[in-house]
């Protein structure tokens, strides 16, 4: 994936660049908002990672500008401001996701990959298929190897998210944000319990587990 990193903290940008390059992505860096704008206009990117507060042109202005110009590249905002209102402002400016600094690197990668994936599957689907797993979004049914799996509404939403991001790591925070729409960190392992319930429904009785735990990151659904 081609990723544009617009970040004035050079050390942080360097660390991101290294980490993303190691995971197989190509990065371009811009050290302030104006350079970021030029880079965004010149290049083709799958995802942009944009710091909110930068000299010359801040992240929100930068994204507002490129969105006005018709650029729909997915944007992940990075910010030290983590309050609800800050996040809403970032998303209203045209950001697609919002990550509060400091973050775990696994969280950043997971979100960048999720954004790129969302773009690929932008069209409206009625049927999701991952390996043996089939989800009918209209009939609200799930089958594995043709056998119907009975899911609670929330389990259905959780599996839908995992299927839409199959093959990628998704973090607990992402699940809480995207499936439950809460933006706080629970002190207990609530998400793990939900995942293990879902796992027992989709993997129990089958020869191969699909829902994997990724150490230090979260979970991944493999086809």
């Amino acid at each position: 994936m081609r990723i544009l990193i617009v970040e004035d903290d050079l050390e942080a940008a360097e660390a991101m660049d290294r980490g993303l390059t190691e995971t197989g992505h190509t990065c371009t860096r811009a050290a302030d908002g104006e350079l970021g704008l030029t880079a965004a206009r010149d290049g083709e990117f799958d995802v942009m990672i944009v710091d909110r507060m930068m000299p010359k042109l801040d992240g929100v202005q930068l994204i507002e500008t490129i969105r006005r110009e018709g650029d729909q590249t997915p944007v992940l905002f990075l910010s030290a401001l983590g309050e609800v209102t800050d996040r809403v402002a970032g998303l209203q400016a045209g950001g697609d996701d919002y990550l509060v600094k400091p973050y775990a690197f696994a969280e950043l990668i997971a979100r960048v990959e999720a954004l790129a994936r969302r773009r690929e599957t932008g069209s409206v689907q009625t049927l999701l298929r991952v390996g043996e797993l089939e989800m009918d979004l209209i009939g609200r049914t799930v089958h594995r190897q043709g056998k119907e799996i009975d899911l609670q509404p929330r389990e259905f939403q959780l599996l839908e998210f995992m299927m839409r991001h199959a093959g990628q790591s998704v973090t607990r925070t992402m699940l809480l944000e995207k499936v439950w729409e809460y933006h706080f960190d629970p002190q207990t392992n609530v998400i793990d319990v939900h995942i293990s319930r879902l796992r027992s429904k989709i993997d129990k009785g089958f020869d191969r587990p699909m829902l994997q735990t990724v150490r230090g990151a979260g979970y991944r659904l493999d086809g």
Binding site: E83, W180, D185, P186, V193, S196
Partner: protein
């Protein structure tokens, strides 16, 4: 030129304004009374003159000019208050009480006129009285004038006007002095409040306004001011405590982190050992510090804002159901019986996100401290006061009475819970959320001791009724 202080007070200005309004009303009333009395007197006189004229014209029609003449002579003798003049066709005076007609036009329809008559008063002085009169031409061409002295009516009207002027002056004088008195009174009431504000401005946060118990708006203001100062003082104390607590809660893990990194670095320098484990632990420590930091920041921002951002009206039971759905599997996993009980058709105004987090924190705590085989119950109900109450009751060890106040303060963790994870900020954040919504947090004993269980803890987040 600067006006004396009393003239600059709001009550005095209001008094002047009301005086102006009242004065205008009084003027309008005066004008009405003038028209009603003076106009009425003139109308009455005119009526009487008309009646007299009709009576004389009637006498002429029945018996001719001599009858009229006779009538005039008789009436003059009977001291009727009318003035008469009868003239022949050539406008020569035949008889009457006045010498000549004040009306110059002798032909045509009956003509009204105002004029004055000369009279001699009791002291023998010559005085002029205002008079009204009507002149008509009789069928035979003779001219008849009937008038009346209206001097007495006019004097009556003048008296009324005089009385009204006096009353007007009295209104102004009484109004102004009332305004001054009222201003003094209000200024005195304000002075106490102003003193308190000055004291606080000079740094004395302990200053409080005196409440006189009259339950008027000044008392209300004093109460409000005192409450505000209480909050401010608490908040200042909180900040000071937070400073100490941050130092404590962040410094120890940071010290530990630094030591770990230093040891690892020395080990690497000495060529012994793999730093991977030390680094992993250092990362974990960092996450802990960041979590604490995030919670401190949330609390500080909530307290600084003093109000929950983006409040919305919603059903509190719906939020509770959402959160239950999140926590119920966790309880089941730990062997804790989870029950929920929600009242219907309630409404609450608040920030859903913060309230969700507050409930999650309460439930996190309950799950953490309740042993397997225990129970947790989440309830939403309306109190008889109209307030909305979220409560979580568990069957854990509970919090001793004397410690309950302390656990909601920032950073406090009880001695016996040191070994449990968590930054000790959970309930402080809940308290901050409750306060930002104008509500409060209450801690009570749970269901009591049953065997090894209990006595448990009941945490209630109470929100004001949605306006």
């Amino acid at each position: 030129m600067r006006l004396p202080r009393i003239f600059r007070t709001t009550p005095f200005r209001l008094t002047v304004l009301f005086l102006a309004l009242f004065g205008s009303a009084a003027m309008a009333l005066l004008a009405y009374i003038y028209v009603a009395t003076a106009g009425e007197a003139t109308r009455r006189t005119d009526q009487e003159i008309t009646r007299e004229m009709r009576s004389l014209v009637g006498a002429y029609d029945r018996a001719g000019i001599d009858a009229v003449n006779q009538s005039l002579i008789e009436r003059a003798a009977s001291e009727r208050p009318f003035l008469y003049l009868l003239m022949n066709r050539d406008r020569k005076r035949i008889s009457g009480s006045i010498e000549e007609s004040p009306v110059e036009k002798f032909t045509g329809p009956p003509t009204w006129t105002s004029f004055s008559v000369t009279d001699v008063d009791t002291q023998g002085r010559t005085v002029k009285h205002p008079a009204r009169g009507l002149q008509e031409q009789l069928a035979g061409g003779q001219i008849l004038f009937v008038g009346a002295d209206v001097g007495e009516d006019e004097a009556y009207v003048a008296k009324i006007i005089h009385a009204l002027q006096g009353a007007g002056a009295l209104v102004v004088v009484l109004g102004l002095s009332g305004g001054v008195l009222m201003s003094r009174n209000v200024s005195r009431s304000m002075a106490g409040l102003t003193e308190v504000v000055d004291a606080v401005r000079n740094g004395d946060l302990a200053a409080r306004a005196q409440v006189r118990g009259t339950r008027d708006e000044f008392d209300e203001l004093a109460l409000g001011l005192n409450e505000m100062l209480d909050r401010l003082e608490r908040s200042m104390a909180g900040h000071k405590h937070a400073g100490d607590a941050i130092a404590h809660d962040l410094r120890s893990p940071l010290t530990r982190l630094r030591a770990r990194l230093e040891t690892a670095s020395m080990d690497v320098d000495a060529g012994k050992g793999d730093p991977t484990k030390a680094l992993a632990q250092a990362l974990e420590d960092t996450d802990g510090v960041l979590k604490t930091f995030g919670a401190v920041l949330s609390i500080a921002r909530l307290q600084a804002a003093g109000a929950a951002p983006d409040p919305q009206l919603f059903d509190p039971a719906e939020l509770a159901a959402d959160i239950s759905e999140l926590y119920e599997p966790l309880c089941e996993d730990k062997g804790i019986d989870f029950a929920a009980e929600f009242s219907k058709d309630l409404q609450v105004r608040g920030n859903r996100e913060f309230l969700a987090q507050a409930l999650a924190n309460i439930l996190d705590n309950a799950v953490k401290y309740t042993p397997a085989g225990g129970a947790i119950m989440l309830r939403v109900r309306r109190r008889s006061s109209g307030e909305i109450e979220y409560s979580v009751t568990d069957t854990g060890p509970g919090v001793p009475d004397e410690d309950r106040e302390r656990v909601v303060q920032r950073f406090v963790r009880l001695e016996n819970s040191r070994n449990q994870p968590g930054a000790g900020l959970g309930l402080s954040l809940v308290a901050a959320v409750a306060e930002a919504h104008g509500g409060r947090l209450e801690l009570d004993e749970g269901p009591g001791k049953v065997g090894e269980m209990g006595p448990g803890l009941r945490v209630a987040l109470i929100l004001p009724r949605a306006a």
